[in-house]
């Protein structure tokens, strides 16, 4: 008798909706990890998500939780408003690099500084995906985009912003790490980090963020496989993976 083992299924945290993401984009992986963690922790029913402006603007279509859709960059402020009046709910934002590190820099820094009990999933793919691949605050030096056609010239267009390093200096931050989605091992580490971020929130231990290095095959002009290689060979050296801040109380958490 042959036995069948179910090795892959839609997590309960997902709705039955095909995503709008481009083939090879790692948004789908990041979404799935969040949905799996919410399911594992039994949080789906009490979670309210805050979608950004950018490629993940329609994130609310995919998660089987309540969702709101924020103005560009303002997700941490909206999430603050929700969490402060409903402290027993779980609130997370899902934001890209243009949204979080450019137009929304004020909102993210101050939500972190206030130690809001929120979880932020930060997708760093080094460009503005939704509008067609313009230069983002995270675009690598020399990287070509539609608004840096000769490559990002640091003399006139500045240097990439390392958000995790920056936010980890703030007292209000409980958990702040950078992971990558370019191979199975790193995806597993990313899931563990997302779990820890939500554990931080559930325990009221302050602001938590997981930065995820991600691909953008369409706007990078690469095949999905080459995009993954680009993350490993170029993004990881520029944005080193690691634990930028894990407070003592969170280090004690065993899952």
């Amino acid at each position: 008798m042959a036995t069948e083992n179910l090795v892959y299924d839609r997590p309960e945290g997902f709705t039955d909706t095909p995503t709008h993401y481009c083939p090879g984009c790692t948004h789908g992986v990041a979404h799935r990890l969040v949905a799996e963690v919410l399911e594992d922790m039994g949080l789906i029913d009490k979670t309210i998500g805050v979608a950004p402006v950018g490629c993940a603007v329609f994130a609310y279509n995919y998660f089987d939780t309540d969702f709101v859709e924020a103005p560009h960059g303002r997700a941490p402020a909206m999430a603050t408003g929700i969490k402060r009046v409903l402290p027993d709910r779980v609130v997370f934002t899902y934001q890209g690099d243009g949204d979080l590190a450019s137009i929304g820099m004020g909102e993210i820094v101050h939500a972190a500084a206030r130690g809001e009990n929120l979880t932020v999933i930060f997708i760093n793919n080094a460009n503005y995906g939704m509008t067609g691949g313009q230069m983002a605050p995270t675009t690598l030096p020399g990287m070509k985009t539609t608004s840096s056609p000769n490559g990002r010239d640091v003399e006139t267009q500045g240097y990439p912003i390392k958000v995790s390093e920056m936010l980890s200096t703030l007292e209000g931050v409980g958990y702040c790490v950078r992971r990558s989605l370019h191979d199975p091992k790193n995806i597993r580490l990313a899931k563990k980090a997302i779990r820890m971020a939500f554990e931080t929130q559930v325990r009221g231990l302050g602001f938590s963020m997981v930065e995820l290095l991600s691909t953008c095959p369409t706007n990078w002009g690469m095949t999905p496989v080459n995009s993954l290689k680009f993350v490993e060979e170029h993004m990881v050296p520029a944005f080193p993976l690691g634990d930028y801040k894990i407070s003592e109380a969170i280090k004690q958490i065993k899952i």
Partner: protein
């Protein structure tokens, strides 16, 4: 409740608390900062939410988030700060969630000054944020009215799932007057069928958004907002009438400009001039119908504002050229004296007025001679 001496800004803050305000998010700016300061003490002692935001952008989006959960929430600011909030106001309107915003107006444009003004009328009444929506806008002229309209603003915002703005000039915000507070209303969370407060094992998930990618769907939203607006127009127009029964000259003014005009009207009445005052309470929806009726029996209108004649255009639309409309304004934070408006009334009672010149041009010409 007995009357107590209240400062306008603090009265608004306490009135909001008594109306069931659960969360306040704000940012300091003169001349409204007392609202923020008052609530920074008052809200925590009641176990309610107070956050001083990093900016007006942060504040209005915190309001937006809290509004999505269905609680009573507000922010307050003054002109330059309200400009920054316009993005959030448009999103709140597009998402159809209730929220209250108080604008204690100051002189502008730009940084302007911190003196009382009414230059934000057009921004408040005729939009301000992007897209097709109309906010409910209430304009108090006294501390008592500021209290009453703050309480009303929460009811209207919830009733119509809309943004309700209370606009007052720095005069009303800063002055102290005897006023009566309403009783403290216990917080009762309504069980809204739209609020994103978590499924909690009881229902399907909910989404609150202002994005309608399909133009047909966006048009449906626009029409829904428009139809709701027509209901608001039919049911919520409020104004005060003074000496209008036999008035030959009708003054129209809101907020402090209307209140100053009332002093002038009383003096003119003592002098035998048949003049009355219409003071719009809802400047949006605008009391066009009552002006339309008055235009059928009055001989002339005088619009007084602390701006360059912004409501003037709405009055002219309602008068439809049937009788002359005159204008008198002070700008940039200057508050008119009753004597200035009295002189205008006396002038209008004496000479034959022409409807051929634009009232703003005629007013500027008169100002140039002074």
């Amino acid at each position: 409740m007995p009357k107590e001496l209240w400062k306008g800004n603090e009265a608004i803050a306490e009135a909001a608390v008594r109306a069931g305000l659960e969360a306040y998010f704000g940012y300091p700016i003169t001349p409204q900062t007392e609202i923020l300061e008052y609530l920074s003490r008052r809200m925590p002692e009641l176990g309610r939410t107070f956050v001083q935001a990093e900016s007006e952008l942060g504040a209005i989006n915190m309001v937006y988030g809290a509004a999505c959960t269905g609680v009573r929430v507000m922010s307050s600011s003054s002109s330059p700060g309200v400009s920054l909030m316009m993005e959030g106001i448009s999103y709140i309107a597009g998402t159809e969630v209730p929220a209250v915003l108080v604008n204690v107006m100051r002189g502008g444009p730009g940084l302007g000054n911190i003196a009382p003004a009414q230059g934000d009328y057009n921004q408040a009444v005729h939009g301000g944020g992007h897209g097709d929506y109309q906010p409910i806008v209430l304009a108090p002229a006294s501390v008592q009215e500021a209290i009453d309209l703050t309480v009303l603003s929460f009811d209207l915002a919830e009733k119509y799932r809309a943004i309700c703005m209370v606009i007052l000039d720095g005069c009303v915000g800063q002055m102290m007057e005897p006023a009566q507070m309403p009783e403290m209303k216990p917080i009762q969370r309504a069980n809204w069928d739209w609020a994103t407060d978590g499924k909690m094992g009881k229902r399907e998930r909910r989404i609150l958004t202002s994005i309608y990618l399909d133009p047909i769907e966006e048009e449906k939203l626009n029409l829904r907002l428009l139809n709701r607006w027509r209901t608001i127009q039919a049911n919520e127009i409020r104004y005060k009438e003074y000496f209008l029964d036999d008035a030959e000259i009708v003054i129209v003014g809101f907020g402090t400009a209307g209140r100053v005009a009332l002093s002038a009207v009383r003096t003119a009445r003592e002098q035998g001039i048949k003049v009355g005052l219409l003071r719009p309470i809802t400047v949006s929806p605008f009391p066009s119908e009552v002006i339309d009726q008055l235009a059928g029996r009055a001989e002339a209108f005088l619009v007084t504002e602390m701006n360059s004649g912004q409501m003037l255009e709405d009055v002219r639309l309602a008068v439809k050229g049937r009788v002359p409309v005159e204008f008198y304004g002070r700008l940039g934070g200057v508050v008119p004296f009753p004597d200035e408006i009295l002189s205008e009334i006396q002038r209008m009672a004496k000479i034959k007025l022409s409807a051929n010149v634009h009232p703003r041009d005629a007013w500027l010409e008169r100002m140039a001679k002074v």
